[in-house]
Symmetry: C2
Subunit: 84 residues, 2 copies
């Protein structure tokens, strides 16, 4: 099994109120050295066979991201469990 | 400037209706070799100085993830623009 990861983030010039809300909450945790927080989406697509980056790019473009306000980045990742 | 990336994903045993909706739409695009789609969040935290992983872990634990249903993973990333 092969996993393709698509990271979808708002374009830098688009305001991110969700990220700003987190950034504004940080001083209450005693964190003062954070300049910016941006929140986007991470999509994990598991292929049954070989990972198909072109196919994944088509999926991202048509179903996952809004190209007017979002950029996306695609990469192949081994389907291991890396969790904290 | 240093960037810490926090990936928050639903635990594997938690149902992901959003990802399933995408997976169910794939045959309409002619994609039949995808076994699973999971959708989570990617949070980019820009530190003004050195990246502080312990601090980022505290932020993720208290503000970004719900530890009951979500796992998170933290890594330092150079603040370069990798977009598609």
């Amino acid at each position: 099994m092969a996993r393709v990861v698509v990271d979808v983030m708002l374009k830098p010039e688009i305001l991110d109120p969700q990220g700003q809300a987190v950034a504004n909450a940080l001083p209450r945790l005693g964190v003062t050295d954070v300049s910016s927080v941006r929140i986007g989406r991470r999509i994990e697509i598991d292929f049954t066979g070989e990972p198909d980056l072109d196919r994944a790019r088509e999926i991202a473009d048509k179903l996952l991201a809004n190209p007017v306000i979002e950029d996306f980045e695609i990469r192949v990742e081994s389907a291991s469990a890396e969790v904290a």
